[in-house]
């Protein structure tokens, strides 16, 4: 499946990744070649094969609904770029 400049810009937006037009052009080329390599998969008949999401076919383990972690907000916020009063600061979202 061929890849267009617009596909790369769309993926970049979905991934919240800033790209200049020049950079995007480079990735059109790279990703195009990677997708060409990946397209080999299409030659295999996989009808009726269940997708394998986990190598041991394990399912999500459940545990009792109990609080097991203590509140470490201050500790974890030490590594945040900007906090005030225990809250993370971001540019204004609501005018």
């Amino acid at each position: 499946m061929a890849l267009e400049h617009a596909d790369v810009q769309r993926a970049a937006h979905l991934a919240r990744l800033g790209l200049t037009d020049n950079e995007a052009a480079g990735y059109v080329d790279d990703l195009g070649r990677i997708l060409e390599m990946v397209d080999k998969l299409q030659s295999l008949n996989t009808e009726g094969i269940a997708p394998l999401a986990h190598p041991l076919d394990a399912t999500q383990r459940l545990r009792a609904d109990e609080v097991t972690e203590k509140d470490q907000r201050d500790h974890f916020q030490h590594c945040a770029p900007a906090v005030a009063d225990g809250l993370y600061l971001v540019p204004r979202v609501v005018e």
Binding site: L31, V38, K40, L44, T46, L52, P55, F76, C79, P91
Partner: protein, 486 residues
């Protein structure tokens, strides 16, 4: 001291030949002198190391030392270490001081080991040369014009150069086994779920697994015994007893059935690598094993399937780097979208962006079934290939990599580089364990023999690797770089 294996060092410490402090000081000194050339460490932690060494020496004087007490090691800088910078080789986490320890770090610290610091890697473990690191490339101690492999290249180079007797790596598509092969050391990727992933910076969660990198299989057994086991903090880590991986090392190999996958000896395999690997297999025959040709028919679909699944999982995992909670943040964002987009544009390097774009594209509306679902179906076929093969033979053997280490700065195009992972990726997709052991040289550059076995048979795998190392001395070879008298 720096020439000894972990097991030999344990004996010397127990016999009082030297203290953990003396050993730690010696290795820190070597690192200070040699690593300016090698760049295998991103961060060294001499003060913490000496404090841990003293604690181990004190425990020993009280008769409280365990098998790993006082033994130095290093962690790939992908494992969170509380209070110590944890960068993932990325500008994104250049300033990140982990607020907690990975479970593996916690377990090994409780065993009394001494961490010398954090080793270099490809950014977010995405690469096979260690050249994509924000901290600059690591060199291969066997040949300073070669890469050490990746992504755990710093761990492999540091062990090979005698800066540390063992290091912890992670393996998503070969990132323990390939650098172990390129640097002439032993590296084990355990079964998926054998070792906790908690606190290990995620790349592709259904493939990532941490494991030991050291000189010998015996050393890897010692470390795995301490690393493995159930962890309530990682729901994919299996609740299954941990055997003493050292207990079976001496078992004889009479009657062992070795399978040689014909797809692992085809086009693209360097003849020097093939010759070394075939020679290693003949050593096994002399030890009583029989050799059988087998087929893993979907081998050549593994790299394409991996380069859908791994980037897809990465695009989800790396969405957490948003400039809000930790890590890099761009200057003066105008709004929230600008904050996200510029933080990520400035914080991530080219290869990481390539994989994020690839993963986001293949997961996006209209493409999901053709790529992600298809790759997961193929993943099941690849796993089935192994399950079928292990009905016929006990283990599989072949080269770890098609060629010896690449030249530093060769700047290969992404697809060519990805295709070099053809022998290591299938084990990650299937979740089975694999080990690379030194098996010869191609000129100045080492060659690795890969041994693969069925889920949760690490004890047998280590036994088989250990027996080879009892019969050969490739694992005892040292690069001239490490002999430098400084």
């Amino acid at each position: 001291m720096h020439d000894k294996t972990l097991t030999e060092l344990a004996r010397s410490l127990a016999a009082g030949e030297f203290s953990s402090r003396e050993l730690t000081q010696h290795l820190l000194g070597r690192t200070e002198r040699l690593d300016a050339t090698l760049n295998s460490f991103i961060t060294t932690t001499p003060e913490q190391a000496l404090a841990s060494a003293d604690a181990a020496d004190t425990a020993r004087s009280k008769g409280e030392a365990g098998p790993l007490s006082g033994l130095p090691l290093a962690y790939k800088d992908l494992l969170c270490t509380q209070g110590v910078r944890t960068t993932a080789g990325s500008r994104m986490l250049d300033n990140f001081i982990a607020p907690y320890n990975a479970t593996v770090v916690e377990k090994l610290a409780e065993s009394g080991t001494v961490s010398l610091g954090k080793t270099n890697l490809d950014e977010f473990a995405m690469g096979s040369t260690s050249e994509t690191s924000h901290s600059g490339p690591t060199k291969n101690p066997w040949d300073l014009t070669a890469v050490p492999g990746g992504s755990s290249g710093g761990s492999a180079a540091a062990v090979a150069a005698g800066l540390v007797p063992a290091a912890i790596g992670t393996d998503t598509g070969g990132s323990i086994r390939q650098p172990a092969a390129f640097c002439g050391i032993t590296g084990l990727k355990p079964t998926y779920g054998r070792v906790s992933r908690y606190g290990i910076i995620a790349y592709a969660s259904s493939l990532d697994q941490a494991g030991p990198m050291a000189r010998t299989a015996e050393d890897c057994a010692l470390l795995l015994s301490a690393m493995a086991g159930h962890d309530p903090r990682d729901s994919t880590c299996v609740a299954r007893g941990v055997p003493d991986y050292c207990a079976e090392l001496d078992a004889p190999l009479n009657g062992l059935k070795i399978g040689l996958p014909r797809e692992y000896f085809g086009a693209g395999l360097d003849p020097r690598v093939e010759a070394a690997v075939r020679e290693a297999i003949s050593v096994y025959e002399s030890l009583g094993a029989s050799v059988h040709e087998v087929s893993l028919p979907h081998t050549h679909y593994a790299v394409p399937a991996y380069y859908v699944i791994a980037p897809a999982e990465a695009s989800s995992n790396l969405s957490r780097y948003d400039g809000v909670r930790f890590g890099y943040r761009c200057d003066n964002p105008t709004d929230l979208i600008d904050l996200y987009k510029r933080t990520r544009a400035e914080g991530f390097g080219t290869e990481v962006k390539r994989r994020l774009l690839m993963g986001t594209h293949t997961l996006s509306e209209g493409f999901f079934d053709a790529y992600y679902k298809k790759a997961q179906q193929v993943r099941r076929l690849i796993r089935q290939d192994f399950l079928d093969a292990f009905e016929e033979v006990d283990v599989l053997m072949g080269p770890t990599t098609p060629t010896p280490a690449f030249d530093l700065g060769a700047n290969m195009d992404p697809v060519s580089l990805y295709l070099q992972e053809v022998y290591t990726i299938p084990a990650n997709l299937a979740g089975i364990p694999g080990i690379s052991v030194p098996a010869g040289m191609a000129g100045k550059r080492p060659v690795g023999l890969q041994i693969l076995s069925s889920h949760f048979t690490e004890a047998r795998l280590l036994n088989i690797a250990h027996q080879f190392q009892q019969a050969t001395d490739w694992h005892r070879q040292r690069p001239a770089f490490a002999e430098e008298t400084l």
